[in-house]
């Protein structure tokens, strides 16, 4: 009898317990009626439950609430009352300690070996393959096509035939596309190149574009009559077909490059603070969309740096190889900081770098390396200075 009663009480007590997922669902999704009942029961069972729930509500209303409070570790430390420790150091104990140390040492040695094969990978074993030719093409109607390097395909758009062969997309205007076009009836395609990818493109005017990893290019299937407008996020090298009547204009956010026929490299990643235009030959003008007066002319061998936050332009004479080597299958670094190098490597090998040694970010390197090598040979080169070591976990490379 008493036993049964006891069980019943226990059962009731258990009912009062609530799983946090119910509370979480209340704030993030929705509750079923029975869940709602369970939550209400819990809230009504004890005033403290209600209080806690009210604080949760506040937290959800204004996220800052819990962050606003800054504790003071100095103050807290003064309130800590630690009992002093007196390690006893008898000679026989040291003997035992030494043997334990030996055991511990072998144990950890063993552990480390296990870990290596399990999760953390040391420098010599970091094997990440270089990028490959891959991209996604988004057609004017929104249809998506995965482009593979080895497969030759023909894609039909309304106004052009697109040949995909040897990792290159080539636009050939058909009869329908040749009619005169106004701004309104332009049809667009978009090429998305992921991290660890690159792709080549020949636009309908014959302009050749090499697109680097983690980039998006949006362009008309057939250009309009008066100008050739395209948009880029990321990095690409352009070899623009000369057409003195139709300027070729590349827009990235509020930055514009205008050319008539020339070759240049444009680098404009969202996670970098600047946009760099490097001119190989010909002539280009760069400008900030908001002020037409700030148009700048760039000479071959020069690079324009547009600072996104201040909206200012700077020009420098540069070694263009450093900025265009990627399209010829090389990494060419000149006094480049390790932080900048890891950005480049991260995109190409589709890995992320984490600096645990913050000082290493500013180390500078020179190098001329093969882009199609496994990352290991590049890390070996960088690690030669002995100032830094690399280790990897999943797709993260740690710099120590």
């Amino acid at each position: 009898m008493t036993c049964a009663l006891h069980m019943k009480i226990n059962f009731l007590l258990m009912k009062e317990d609530i799983d946090y997922s119910l509370i979480w669902k209340y704030f993030n999704t929705s509750l079923t009626t029975s869940e709602e009942k369970e939550l209400t029961d819990w809230l009504e069972a004890d005033n403290r439950h209600l209080q806690y729930f009210e604080r949760l509500k506040e937290k959800h209303k204004q996220k800052i609430n819990t962050d606003k409070y800054t504790s003071n570790s100095d103050h807290a430390w003064r309130n800590m009352h630690l009992a002093p420790k007196h390690p006893k150091r008898n000679i026989w104990k040291i003997g035992i300690a030494a043997s334990i140390l030996l055991i511990v040492a072998t144990y950890f040695g063993h552990n480390l070996l296990n870990q290596k094969s399990n999760k953390i990978v040391i420098a010599e074993n970091i094997l990440f393959e270089p990028g490959v030719k891959k991209a996604t093409l988004v057609l004017n109607n929104g249809e998506k096509l995965e482009l593979e390097s080895k497969k030759d395909t023909l894609i039909r758009e309304d106004e052009a035939i697109i040949k995909n062969s040897n990792s290159e997309l080539n636009y050939e205007t058909n009869r329908k596309g040749e009619r005169k076009k106004s701004f309104e009836d332009i049809q667009y395609n978009t090429l998305i190149v992921p991290r660890g990818g690159e792709y080549n493109l020949i636009l309908s005017d014959g302009t050749e574009v090499k697109i680097n990893s983690e980039s998006i290019l949006r362009y008309p299937v057939v250009f309009e009559e008066k100008q050739r407008n395209i948009q880029l996020i990321g990095e690409a090298f352009f070899d623009v077909k000369t057409d003195s009547l139709r300027p070729f204009i590349v827009t990235s956010a509020d930055h514009t490059v205008k050319v008539y026929g020339t070759s240049f490299n444009l680098k404009s990643y969202g996670n970098e603070s600047y946009i760099a235009t490097t001119l190989v030959e010909g002539k280009v003008t760069v400008s900030n969309n908001s002020e037409s007066s700030s148009e700048q002319i760039l000479q071959p061998g020069y690079q324009s740096i547009y600072k996104k936050d201040s909206g200012e332009f700077e020009q420098h004479k540069v070694d263009i190889r450093q900025f265009t080597a990627w399209k010829d299958g090389r990494f060419y670094f000149r006094n480049m900081t390790l932080e900048d190098i890891t950005l480049v490597l991260g995109r190409w090998y589709d890995v992320a770098f984490k600096f645990r040694n913050k000082d290493a970010k500013d180390l500078t390197f020179n190098g001329n390396l093969k882009r199609y090598d496994n990352i290991q040979s590049i890390l070996n080169q960088l690690g030669k200075t002995n100032e830094i070591t690399f280790s990897a976990y999943d797709k993260i490379i740690f710099v120590d």
Binding site: I18, Y20, S21, Y52, S71, D74, L82, I216, Y393, F398
Partner: protein, 183 residues
């Protein structure tokens, strides 16, 4: 990791200078962390200080698997959940832990493999729907929206194609939540 072994050894030998250093290094972020569970500054301070005192007094028997930091977070988590047990709250799915880790957003917890691994495991154990909400809330970048608008593409297209694996944390999350990318 070797560094952590040294720290433990020193603390075991009663080196209070090393202990104080560890205390100052982690105290404030642990308070923030505990506060995500407890939503009460005073109780959070008690919990964290309690963990440090326990750590000091029982350092001989405490096993540190990888890092002192991971141990402290684990201990504060357990102690906070104990407090919540008094309010009759269970946390089967470790939702509180996940929220606390992600809301605290301490800049370098990513460097601790053990912590990353534990987040990954917790995410993997979530029911799909919950996992999806976590992902939406914490890991979708605003810029995806902007780019989608600029390039006239669906946000999903960009998310899948380009931003896949932009940050290290996303790499890990992808393993745990790869079914997001099926549709």
């Amino acid at each position: 990791m070797y560094n952590d072994k040294l720290i433990i050894n020193e603390i075991r030998n009663g080196n209070s200078i090393v202990f104080e250093k560890v205390f100052h290094e982690h105290y404030n972020s642990l308070i923030k962390f505990a506060n995500q569970f407890l939503l009460d500054n005073k109780i959070s301070e008690d919990v964290v200080q309690g963990v440090f005192i326990y750590f000091w007094e029982n350092s001989d028997s405490i096993q540190i698997k990888t890092s002192v930091k991971a141990y402290l977070y684990q201990a504060v988590k357990n102690s906070s959940l104990n407090q919540l047990r008094a309010l009759k709250i269970r946390d089967k799915y470790q939702l509180l832990y996940l929220e606390a880790m992600l809301e605290t957003s301490e800049p370098d917890w990513m460097n601790d493999c053990e912590i990353v691994e534990s987040i990954k495991q917790s995410l993997q154990q979530l029911p799909k729907q919950m996992c999806r909400i976590f992902y939406k809330k914490y890991f979708q970048e605003q810029s995806i929206k902007e780019i989608a608008k600029e390039m006239s593409l669906s946000e999903n297209t960009i998310k899948v194609q380009l931003y896949k694996g932009r940050h290290a944390i996303r790499q890990i999350l992808e393993l745990a939540t790869s079914y997001f990318f099926i549709f």
